[in-house]
């Protein structure tokens, strides 16, 4: 079994680290939210790839089929996606109001304005 046999996990790790890096390194508040969404999306893929069963088909009851994929992770992740959407919407709404209050969305400029008070 080679390292690339579990390629789905490699994709998850790559996406997760990319998202995390953007959150940490970017000073732009909108880009941080983008990174955060990417970070969450990687976990969605982790869950969805859990549900795959080798040889399993769509989990709808039909004659002559005994092996189904596991639908539970999909249902769970539907909820997590809704949570992710709300987080993104709330984050962006905050950014809009920060922009109105500070006239910038760059973190260091906001710090400068706060310290000069």
């Amino acid at each position: 079994m080679n390292v690339f046999g579990l390629y789905n996990y490699w994709i998850v790790i790559f996406l997760m680290m990319t998202g995390f890096y953007v959150v940490i390194s970017s000073g732009n508040l909108v880009k941080k939210i983008v990174g955060l969404s990417l970070f969450q999306a990687s976990v969605f893929i982790l869950y969805i790839s859990l549900g795959k069963i080798t040889g399993g088909t769509v989990p709808i009851l039909r004659e002559g089929i005994t092996l189904y994929s596991n639908p539970l992770p999909h249902v769970l992740i539907l909820t997590a996606i809704v949570v992710g959407v709300s987080t993104t919407a709330l984050g962006l709404a905050l950014v809009v109001r920060i922009k109105e209050a500070y006239d910038t969305v760059e973190e260091d400029e906001i710090h400068q304005q706060d310290e000069s008070l």
Partner: protein, 494 residues
């Protein structure tokens, strides 16, 4: 019949009241609905507490789906105690909120404010009740998202950046929890906590389960504001509206602490978390570091709300220190401190809310001479501060006493030093406020109009402060339940 439905009512009452608040236009009506829902859920929590004391653990199956498949709510002595604290605090703080919020939040947004408040309460209560690991994540996000909104209601524009920072860190924490739950599901195929506890020992030695433990602990610690993951907390508490600060400080971190207890002791078990993995020493060091470093930082704060926020991080350190001992005595101290800290920080932040109401600011300089102008408010702050330091006859003394006893019982004498130094640092930062309020002359020009805060604010404040004194003397209820809860947590896992 209705008694068997109590666990469902506990969560659905605030959930149903939230959209009702959204429908009404006036802030006062929304406040009435919110207060009614909180009081009702407090009544439910009291009924649940008495039932659990009588009959032991209650289980409730949602939709009639049996436990490992359906979502199960499990109420035992541990979470019913936390429920009691959360619902009591929200009810008292809502009494306070009416006048305080009218001053700090625009009239047009007050009904939204109470809607979000109730959603936050729903999230916190659900988080405590649920026996399902994924359901826990959902409630965690409900409570987190609504607390970001509540913080952003603050008047200062820095409330927005504080809320944003909390959103980023909170989402990372919650996503870590989600990853941890996913890894556990991967190994066991179940999400029910009791079922997880049964199935985990078979796969305990795998790297996946260890990774799950790490993700869960780090994720929950972010929500818990465990040092050094506490960076979001001081700003969030400092710039939120007064009532929100009191509510969140007294409930949100406590609930996160409960979640940590639940995962470490019920799901993973003591043997895995503290013997196979070196969690005990890690948490002990972080707890001690939290007490010493954030108490020291608190001394240098000019904004008193911020000072108390740093002190909150230190108090979380005491709780985690008790947890890290992984013994019945240590856990008793932790759970007792959870209860006592909710009372004292609730009371202290409400006293600060009274000051903000009259003085318009809670910076140290604004308080000069306030001890004579607002004697009852400052008196409340003083008693709360004594409890925070841990003077005998206050609630704060008891939990520190139990903590030190537990530590000495295990030969952890450095804990004694940490607790003493932490308490001395607390003396210093409480003294700074007391000195300013009682020993400085007021600058007469601007503060001559300052009067005592209105009764509607003072009563809830003194209710919580009085509870500090009451539970400092009458220990049967709090210590008794904390001891039983600790025994349940340790007993289940052995």
């Amino acid at each position: 019949m209705i008694l068997s439905q109590l666990p469902a009512l506990q969560v659905t009452l605030p959930l149903i009241a939230a959209p009702l608040c959204l429908l009404v236009r006036s802030g006062r009506a929304a406040w009435g609905i919110a207060l009614f829902a909180s009081a009702a859920s407090f009544a439910v929590a009291v009924l649940l507490l008495s039932r659990v004391l009588d009959q032991g653990t209650l289980s409730y199956e949602f939709g009639g789906w049996a436990a490992p498949w359906g979502i199960e709510y499990r109420v035992d002595i541990v979470n019913v105690f936390v429920l009691f604290v959360v619902t009591a605090i929200t009810t008292v703080v809502l009494f306070f909120a009416n006048d305080s919020v009218r001053k700090e939040v625009d009239a047009s947004r007050q009904s939204l404010f109470y809607t979000v408040w109730l959603l936050c309460l729903t999230g916190l209560v659900g988080l405590v009740m649920t026996g399902d690991a994924f359901n826990l994540f959902v409630f965690l996000e409900i409570s987190s998202l609504s607390s970001y909104v509540l913080i952003a209601f603050g008047k200062d524009r820095r409330a927005l950046t504080a809320s944003y920072q909390y959103l980023v860190m909170g989402t990372i924490g919650a996503t870590f929890v989600l990853i941890g739950v996913g890894l556990l599901y991967m190994m066991t195929g179940t999400l029910n906590m009791a079922d997880l506890a049964d199935r985990l020992p078979a796969v305990m030695a795998t790297r996946t389960v260890r990774a799950a433990l790490a993700f869960l602990v780090v994720g929950i610690s972010l929500k818990l504001a465990l040092f050094p993951l506490h960076l979001w907390l001081p700003n969030a508490y400092a710039f939120a509206p007064s009532a929100v600060t009191a509510f969140l400080a007294a409930t949100a971190t406590k609930v996160a602490f409960y979640v940590l207890l639940r995962f470490l002791f019920t799901v993973f078990g003591v043997t895995f978390a503290f013997e196979a993995m070196p969690l005990g020493i890690i948490l002990a060091v972080l707890g001690a570091a939290a007490i010493l470093s954030t108490s020291a930082v608190a001394i240098f704060q000019d904004d008193i709300k911020r000072m108390l926020a740093y002190s909150s991080v230190a108090q979380i350190g005491y709780m985690v220190l008790g947890l890290s001992m992984a013994s019945v005595a240590g856990l008793t101290a932790s759970i007792l401190h959870l209860f006592n800290h909710a009372l004292m920080k609730g009371g202290l932040f409400l006293a600060l809310g009274c000051m903000a109401y009259r003085l318009g600011s809670v910076r140290l300089g604004a308080l000069a001479g306030a001890g004579y102008r607002m004697p009852w408010t400052m008196g409340a702050f003083l008693v709360g501060g004594l409890s925070l330091i841990g003077i005998p006859l206050t609630a704060g003394f008891l939990s520190k006493w139990y903590l030190v006893q537990a530590a000495l019982g295990q030969g952890w004498w450095p804990v004694l030093v940490v607790v003493i130094v932490g308490s001395l640092l607390a003396v210093v930062y409480v003294w700074r406020v007391v000195e300013m309020a009682y020993l400085r002359r007021p600058n007469d020009s601007d503060a001559s109009a300052v009067r005592e805060a209105p009764l509607s604010l003072l009563l809830p404040t003194w209710f919580l402060i009085g509870a500090n004194l009451y539970f400092g003397i009458h220990t049967r209820l709090s210590v008794g339940i904390a001891g039983k809860a600790a025994a349940v947590l340790m007993g289940q896992s052995q």
